[in-house]
Symmetry: C2
Subunit: 232 residues, 2 copies
Amino acid sequence: MDQVQALAFDVFGTVVDWREGVAREVARVLGPAVEGRALADAWRAGYQPAMEAVRTGARPWVNLDVLHREVLDRILPAFGLNTVPEDKKADLNLAWHRLDPWPDALTGMERLRRKFTLVPASNGHIALIVDMARRSGLRWDAVLGGEVSQAYKPQAKVYDDAARLLGLKPEQVMMVAAHPSDLASAAGRGLRTAYVHRPDEYGRGAAQARPANGRFDYSVDSFIELAEKLGV
Amino acid sequence: MDQVQALAFDVFGTVVDWREGVAREVARVLGPAVEGRALADAWRAGYQPAMEAVRTGARPWVNLDVLHREVLDRILPAFGLNTVPEDKKADLNLAWHRLDPWPDALTGMERLRRKFTLVPASNGHIALIVDMARRSGLRWDAVLGGEVSQAYKPQAKVYDDAARLLGLKPEQVMMVAAHPSDLASAAGRGLRTAYVHRPDEYGRGAAQARPANGRFDYSVDSFIELAEKLGV
C-alpha cells in the first residue's frame, strides 16, 4: 500500500448525502407538502438506467444535468406534480450541485490531502463537482470523471483515467467508495480499494450489508478512520 | 463586469516564474556549471514551435511532458551536454512541474477565490498542474486545459471550454494572463480579460512593453491589485 499516491473518490453517497440534500431542495423549491425523500429515492432510482444508454453507446455522452432532468420530468407526475413551472424544474434539477458532505468528509479529506492527491472519480460533470465543492468547502486537486472521461462508471475508462491523467500506475491509485460494485470495477482495472460504510445513504435503518472482510484493501466507517489506517 | 463568475488563468509566466524555476532545477540536476537561465530560455523558445504541429493537426495531441522532452533533447547539445544520462533527463524534464508562483500569486488567488471560481486555462496537462499546485499551495477549483481540451492555446477550444465546462457564458469568464496575445485570443472568444504585468518573466531588465490602456478590461501589476479592482 506504500505506493498509493492518489485517492479517487466516488462522490454521490460516498462523499455527500444525496438523499437528504435532494429532499431539502425539494422542500425549498416545491414546498413541504411534497414527499422529498421519496422523490429523492425515485430520482436516484432512475439514475443507473439513464446512464445505460450512454454506456452502451446508444447515445453520445451527455452530462448529469441532462440525465437528471430527463428522470425528473418522468417521475414528477407520479408525485402528482404535473404543472411545475419550468424555472422551478430547472432550479430543482441543480439540487445535485448542492449536496452536503457526510459529517466526517471535510475533516477526513483535509487530513488525507496532506499525503495524497484527491480527485473525484465520479459520474458528476465538472460544473456540478465544482459547484458542490465551492458550496461545501470540499477541496479537490483536480476534477476527473465527467467530461474528462466522457464515460460513466463502471466503464473502465473512468478508472483508467484516474491513474493515467495523474501520471500514475493503477496500483498507485486507491478508489474510495461506499458501493462494492464500484470498488469491484476499480479493482478490475488494477486500482487499490477502500470501502467506506455509509449506512444512512438510503435513509436511517436502510443500512446496506457490509462487504465480507478482505474483499477490499480497506473497510472503514469514515474518512477519518481511513486517514488513520493510511497513517496520515 | 458584475456578471464575471470565474477566472481562467494562464499559468506559465502569469502564475509561476518558469525561468527561475527551470534554472534552479537545471542547477540541481546538471550542476551549477550549466547556464541554467540560458537553458531555460532556449527550452521555452522551443515551446511554441513544438505545439504548432498539434495545433495544425499534423500530430495528435500529446502532453507537455512529451513536447518538453523533445525540445530538451534538441537543445542539450548546444550547451555542450551530449552525454546526460536518461534518468537525469527524465528528472529535469519535470522541472516544469516544480515552478514557484510569483510572490503575489498565492495571496492574490486566495482572495480572488472567495468570490470567483479559479481554473487554469493553460497548455499544461493535469498531472503537471496538480504537481505544481500541491508543491506550491496553489488552489484550483478544477483543472481545465490540457487533456480536458486536447488543444493548445490560442486554439479556440481552450477558451470555449473554460466557459462551457463551468456551465457559464463566455462573458462570465475572465482570462487572466501576462501575455497580450493570449488575452486577445480569449477576447476573440467572448471572454473578459485581465492583463497582469510580469516584467521579470524573461529576466530582470527584460521587461515587456505594457499594452495600451483600454486594450483589455483590466491591467494590473499583481493578483492582489486584481482582487482589489474586482472588489474582493
